[in-house]
Symmetry: C2
Subunit: 206 residues, 2 copies
């Protein structure tokens, strides 16, 4: 069984949205071996740091929260598509030829997976492509961008997807993964009333 | 596909170790729909709150940390054993008759899964049972207790298990699950240098 770990590592030095200090994680060592003979820590996490799931509440007023979402959206057969040739943003024309069907979980691999620093021009999903995915009635779309859109007033891509029942996974790490079918595991933590959750995401070769 | 969610819900009011205030989670709403037209939050989590994995560093000086552990220990076929008849702690004599084999992932369901408040007398794993599991060369033991032991000076059960390569999952919720074989998914977050990680844990009926 070959496992691909498609998660970003969570650390104080990880790349965060627009390199903002208030997005950085904070860790506190509560006990350590020298003083206490055991090690315990706490972590303060922005829910959108690193590989994570957005729940509808993130962008839809009174939307569903993370613990209410069906786990089937975050596990099972998934299709990885190679969109590394896309320069700026994913349009309907970039995906209309792909074998995307009802109830699919689709992951878009882009040039983002190769960035080593925060890329202010990261590849994202344009509104027409989001609408296309909604009309296709897919279950889930995942991307290797910190956000499914970039500096769009009103967050239309998020609202098209999350407002129409398409699950969203962000900030995947797909550099090592080729296009193809895999088994995805990417379960959210069961955090009451949260608009998002960090995840460990993996692909298993079929 | 029948899925059993065996995770505790993470919230400000969840039951924490010995009801200690410093173990409680803290949430911060960073943005909300009324003021910002979207919702964003942060959470401060004790790494041992709710359903979680202990890495060796928790109890073993210079032990491995959570991001270094093989994911195979936290997924795959697992055996749930019903030990709800055990009153105080699990001894070797309580498990010696069970079909436990090399490389097994075993979960112990105890009366803890039915507690609605913090139980200062929760059922845990005694040293002789831990040594038995190590000698059996199992991969992983999970239990529905906040800790594999209770108020033991020097934490011998943790050290026997974690010091000898047996993975540990704590604070599972097994009330709805009968004894039997399932597929387990219980992956840790990829947190650099952490001694533990909260998890979403599920069982899939085979």
């Amino acid at each position: 069984m070959k496992i691909y770990d498609i998660s970003k590592e969570i650390s104080e030095t990880m790349i965060v949205y627009k390199n903002r200090d208030n997005k950085k994680i904070v860790r506190e060592i509560v006990a350590n071996h020298s003083d206490n003979h055991f090690h315990e820590s706490k972590i303060t996490l922005d829910m959108h740091c690193g590989t994570h799931i957005d729940a509808p509440l993130h962008m839809v007023e009174n939307g569903h929260t993370i613990e209410q979402l069906p786990l089937e959206n975050y596990m099972g057969t998934c299709k990885v598509f190679d969109l590394t040739a896309v320069e700026s943003f994913i349009r309907q024309k970039d995906i209309v030829h792909l074998p995307i069907n009802e109830k699919d979980i689709v992951l878009f691999k882009t040039r983002n997976s190769y960035s080593k620093v925060y890329d202010f021009n990261f590849v994202y999903i344009e509104e027409d492509a989001a609408t296309y995915l909604v009309n296709k009635k897919i279950r889930t779309v995942g991307i290797d961008a910190m956000s499914v859109e970039r500096d769009k007033p009103g967050h239309p891509t998020h609202k098209i997807l999350l407002g129409n029942g398409v699950a969203v996974i962000e900030d995947l790490q797909l550099a090592e993964v080729n296009a193809g079918e895999y088994e995805l595991i990417a379960l959210p933590l069961k955090i009451k009333n949260s608009e998002a959750s960090p995840i460990r995401a993996i692909l298993i070769e079929k």
